[in-house]
């Protein structure tokens, strides 16, 4: 049985200037259509890994292919935004236009799509996140959950085949979180979700990659990795509530 590989990382290494390595020899594959959770304590390298995958940070060593493109090659990096969408931890970092419409249209306009297609994509993306009718609202006057959905719509409007979500449930109230989980279920494509919210990971990802200190510690089915109490405790995490009974 063969899978199309969406993301392939081999011995990925990255260090911030003057700092300890943020990523050290990280290797993994993500098949097309797969949903992978990225877990680990603070400073594990989750956000750095996402920034390397999206071409914002340049991994120093190893090999990396995302949607068939090498994010370290400047000529290929230009095409990454149409392949890889990233939703940042803090939506305020991602919403910079004066209206919701303009913000969602920002990416499609950068892809130099014709105006009618930009409008169509914006309408479609806003409908998918349940924000139709809010086109003229000012993003910084929205609630945390609405901001998160606008940020997601901005990424969906670019129709990326790979979606990276960094702490998507942060700042969300329980209802916002439930809506987010429902939304994530309705999205197709390849997904990687970095989160401390292990219940959310359990509900949205079949597979989990555990990082700590920039190294890949475990990679396996979510139900198995997250239920391993010794492993979780050793890396500053806890077994999710619904797996407590099954925990070893």
């Amino acid at each position: 049985m063969s899978f199309e590989i969406a993301i392939q990382a081999r011995d990925l290494t990255f260090a911030y200037p003057g700092g300890a390595p943020a990523l050290s020899g990280v290797s993994f594959d993500v098949a097309a259509g797969e949903s992978v959770g990225l877990v680990g304590p603070n400073g594990a390298g989750k956000t750095s890994l996402f920034l390397c995958l999206s071409g914002v940070l340049q991994a120093r060593g190893g090999a990396l292919s995302v949607g068939g493109l090498d994010p370290r090659d400047p000529s290929q990096r230009r095409h990454l935004p149409s392949q890889v969408g990233i939703v940042f931890q803090n939506s305020d970092d991602q919403l910079f236009n004066a209206t919701v419409f303009d913000d969602v249209a920002f990416g499609p306009l950068n892809l130099e799509l014709p105006p009618h297609e930009v409008r169509q994509r914006v309408d479609e993306a806003l409908a998918r996140v349940g924000l139709t009718g809010m086109e003229e609202r000012v993003p910084f006057h929205l609630s945390g959950g609405e901001k998160r959905r606008v940020a997601l719509a901005g990424v969906l409007a670019m129709r990326p085949s790979i979606l990276l979500l960094d702490e998507p449930s942060m700042y969300l109230d329980p209802r916002g979180r439930r809506e987010l989980i429902r939304l994530l279920h309705s999205l197709g494509g390849t997904r990687m979700i970095a989160s401390h919210d292990l219940e959310l990971i359990l509900q949205t990802c079949q597979r989990v990659l555990l990082l700590d200190g920039g190294r890949s510690i475990a990679d396996g089915p979510a139900q198995t990795v997250l239920a391993d109490a010794t492993l979780m405790e050793a890396h500053g995490l806890e077994v999710p509530y619904r797996l407590r009974g099954a925990a070893r």
């Binding site: 071409g55 914002v56 935004p81 970092d93 910079f96 004066a98 303009d102 930009v118 990424v155 670019m158």
Partner: protein, 257 residues
């Protein structure tokens, strides 16, 4: 605090129906001319013209006066000392041991009137079209993308930084900090300003990353389409001609003893 930066909902007025490009061009010319005026009577005429535009634009009175009042306090800091500072051989009055020069009073009034006229034009522009429309109009008038985006992002992040400042003030207050005029207060204010700068820088980094992830390459792009009607050109010509007339009047009066 952020309310001070909030724009009013665009009013329905003859000015708000104009093509934003022509309106921006006309008000820019008028503002540039007003800034160069050197005669008080001409500056008063320019101020009257600006207030006429504000009436035409149906600016919300309270919103307009609040901003004008706040700006006047700032202008007063510079204008009030001038009658005592600009002493010359011309006419002057004595107030006890202080001498007030007529020239100084004239310069202070000129400064104040020009400031009010410029602010009125700026508020008229703000109230008659959303900010992003004005910025897109500026881009259509060949203002470099960099400046347009700086304007857009600065406005956007005023609110975020104001929130950061609010959080910092709360954090200070819950730890017993009270405002005062001593070394500890000055040092704390310095630390708060430094923290805000660092956080602002870090946020700018993250915003830049988010923009690049969505394909941003430095180009300002917009779907906004503008269309010119004869009335847009007519208003532009009227405002520009009035500005030119004021400039000629100002230079003529200046040359005439």
């Amino acid at each position: 605090m952020t309310l001070a930066f909030s724009l009013p909902p665009p009013t329905d007025s003859p000015l708000s129906r104009l093509d934003p490009r022509w309106k921006l061009a006309a008000l820019s010319i008028a503002a540039a001319v007003t800034a160069t005026l050197q005669t008080l009577s001409v500056a008063v005429a320019a101020c009257a013209g600006a207030l006429f535009l504000a009436v035409l634009a149906r600016l919300p009175g309270r919103w307009f006066l609040q901003r004008l009042g706040a700006a006047s306090l700032f202008v007063a800091l510079f204008a009030l000392p001038l009658p005592w500072m600009l002493l010359d051989d011309g006419m002057s009055w004595s107030l006890g041991c202080l001498r007030v020069s007529r020239h100084g009073v004239q310069v202070a009034l000129l400064l104040a009137v020009k400031a009010i006229a410029l602010l009125t034009m700026f508020l008229t522009l703000q109230a008659t079209a959303p900010l992003e429309t004005n910025l897109k109009a500026a881009h259509a008038l060949r203002i470099p993308s960099l400046f347009v985006q700086l304007g857009l992002l600065s406005y956007r992040y005023i609110f975020v930084l104001a929130d950061e400042l609010r959080r910092l003030r709360i954090a200070l207050r819950v730890r017993g900090y009270r405002r005062g005029m001593n070394r500890h207060n000055y040092r704390t204010a310095g630390h708060v300003a430094g923290t805000l700068l660092v956080r602002g820088y870090e946020r700018a980094e993250r915003v830049g990353q988010a923009m690049r992830c969505r394909g941003f390459n430095g180009q300002f792009r917009s779907l906004k389409k503008f269309s010119t009607r004869p009335v847009d050109v007519l208003v532009f010509v009227l405002v520009a001609a009035s500005a030119a007339a004021l400039l000629v009047w100002d230079r003529y009066l200046e040359l005439t003893p």
